[in-house]
Subunit: 422 residues, 2 copies
Amino acid sequence: MASVELVAVGTELLLGQLVDTNTAFIAQRLSEAGIDVRATHAVGDNRERIAALLSEILARADGAITTGGLGPTIDDLTKEAVCDALELDVELYEPALEQMERTFAALGRQMRSNNRKQAELPRGSLPLRNPNGTAPGFVAFSRDGKFVACVPGVPREMKPMIVDRLLPYLRERLQARETIVTFVLHTIGLGESEVDHRIDQLFRSSENPKIAVLAQSYRVDVKVMAKAASVTAAHELIAPLRREIESRLSGFIFGSNDASPASAVERLLEKRNLTLAVAESCTGGRIAAALTGVPGASKTFLGAVVAYDDAVKREQLGITRATLDAHGAVSAEVAAAMARAVRVRLNAGLGLAITGIAGPTGGTAAKPLGLIWLAVDDGTDEATTWRFELGGDREAIQERATTLALGTLWRYLSRDNGERIS
Amino acid sequence: MASVELVAVGTELLLGQLVDTNTAFIAQRLSEAGIDVRATHAVGDNRERIAALLSEILARADGAITTGGLGPTIDDLTKEAVCDALELDVELYEPALEQMERTFAALGRQMRSNNRKQAELPRGSLPLRNPNGTAPGFVAFSRDGKFVACVPGVPREMKPMIVDRLLPYLRERLQARETIVTFVLHTIGLGESEVDHRIDQLFRSSENPKIAVLAQSYRVDVKVMAKAASVTAAHELIAPLRREIESRLSGFIFGSNDASPASAVERLLEKRNLTLAVAESCTGGRIAAALTGVPGASKTFLGAVVAYDDAVKREQLGITRATLDAHGAVSAEVAAAMARAVRVRLNAGLGLAITGIAGPTGGTAAKPLGLIWLAVDDGTDEATTWRFELGGDREAIQERATTLALGTLWRYLSRDNGERIS
């Protein structure tokens, strides 16, 4: 498989003043086009270091693609470094100069000599037109048939140049005949090592498709990547592994690709013709926010009561002072009463409630920081409740509790009965 | 100046499936600590390539810092690659094993042998404790006195390990004598070009401190960076510029550094001894989530009603069907009625309400997608209302509306009267 490395140029990247999103954009397009990205790099506006890095890359890969450092300022040194690495001088590229003259005339601005520099390209390069800016991109060549492609760092200029100019050229040049398709299954309720254990043999034996396990907080993703001559052929490679993984992780997969715990819950609610109301304490609105982040949420989600203060639990949800005093706000009894109350008051089919201690203060020996009670009430029986203890700081507990609440509700909905699933 | 290079480990980075934000975070903290970042890299889950890259880096820099690849799965290979590059074997780190055993016991999950692997460190390493996860970080050493520091790739685990453990150690070890201090002022209510214009002369003339203007959605940050021999000396360089910027942007600065619109609102509420209740429609819980994200929120924030469905607006907030029919749910009248109702029902000093059209459907010529009505009710007079039209997709509108609501409430609270500020 043809391979390249990516180089983002700019001192601001090394100072951490900018998150580099160009690299992910280009890497994704290249892997879809069947071109392997061996590694990516960021380097400062330093001519020698850029040139040294390009020389190293050309010793091990078919080519390099750089972003940034093509502007008119004294800090823009990518072209000079390419000339150093490939031992080339520059030549004027007339169409770029003409485009620049037209642009400056249209803006009524005077063109300066440092702008003219932008119209020069390493000798023998293939120019890449820039419809959205003045600096053209280019592909320069080494004597032994390797290449360095350079595009601007401004995403608006970089993206069309990559997609419309560079990729078609590289697919042809590198005779990239393969494509990579990625399929992701999302699970909830199993730890990373348990998922790994269940798919272990598959995982070890398979090179194409390749399988990876990725943990998020209280969710684990299984990613299947297939290389093939076409998208259809890649999907055919994925299909049998997908079925095998689905069977090994049965009951824990809430969706694939773009699915979220919230979208999985809403899909099941819609299927069962149910509406949902939520009562939140420690998560403070995050469950409602996740549910309303899904387009079309209004079909199943009615609303929520964020009962942060105990007075709101009493007055908006009718939890009695006696219940609060007897069991404490973080208890199975209060969670169950909140779930029932919000279901009844918002006239929903299901009520989901959460109460817990997110910190940084408020934990005790009996009720530690991170203690969470969840309840689901469907009106037919007593509410079902679950107890969890979560680790991490306030932000982590709030995030994990949100995922856990939605994941638990999804598992409740995807089973025939409401048996405990902790 | 001491120099390091950063290595992000993960095949998903080379496939462009993930934007790497860890590198910018670490690079910024290092440059603030006076440690030069020579270059940054991303490499796949490939033991040989990780080891080869680390060897190259140690030939030219004082050390390397890696993120990712420390988990329990078979494609987590960072530790093995470090051992290869430094020619070390591993030894068990007992405290990490004990922490892991406790975590698994609390979750009622079984620990597997692949988890035990996470408690092993390259021989002679300095362990870096991980309060937010099971994989400890570490600093491993080469025979010639160079180092490779490895931290997890999960940002919530990586950040405290870098800030609390690794940086203090590296500053000492590398005797970093120069420091870069960054001070950020956050504004709301001015556009990027207006902020740029107001601080223009300062901006052009200053090299140290250096000033940068960064736009976020409906917020603009001004960043001041000073290089000096000590933190105190850097702050002395920043002070006069800070005063000048504060005067030029007076009335629009809601805080500095870690401040958020939510924390700025809570600070003013506490100062005025006021409590707040929120009624949300289109933002679906995001305003409550932002407010409860601030530690100590319970002092001023009582709770919220997420009235997503109109029936909830009627039944939980008492908005009459007549009001909804006459003006529509997205109107000044309904926003004002929601703000009043939530203030009265939750017994708060102030009520904040928002109603709008987040899309993807539901817009009309008269009430386009992105139309937002905000209201604040303090019980003394009619509610104050504001109208905005926001651009972007559903997610962008929900996020921007949340920032706008909190920013508008902050400006309302920071003025003596409630005059309109749109």
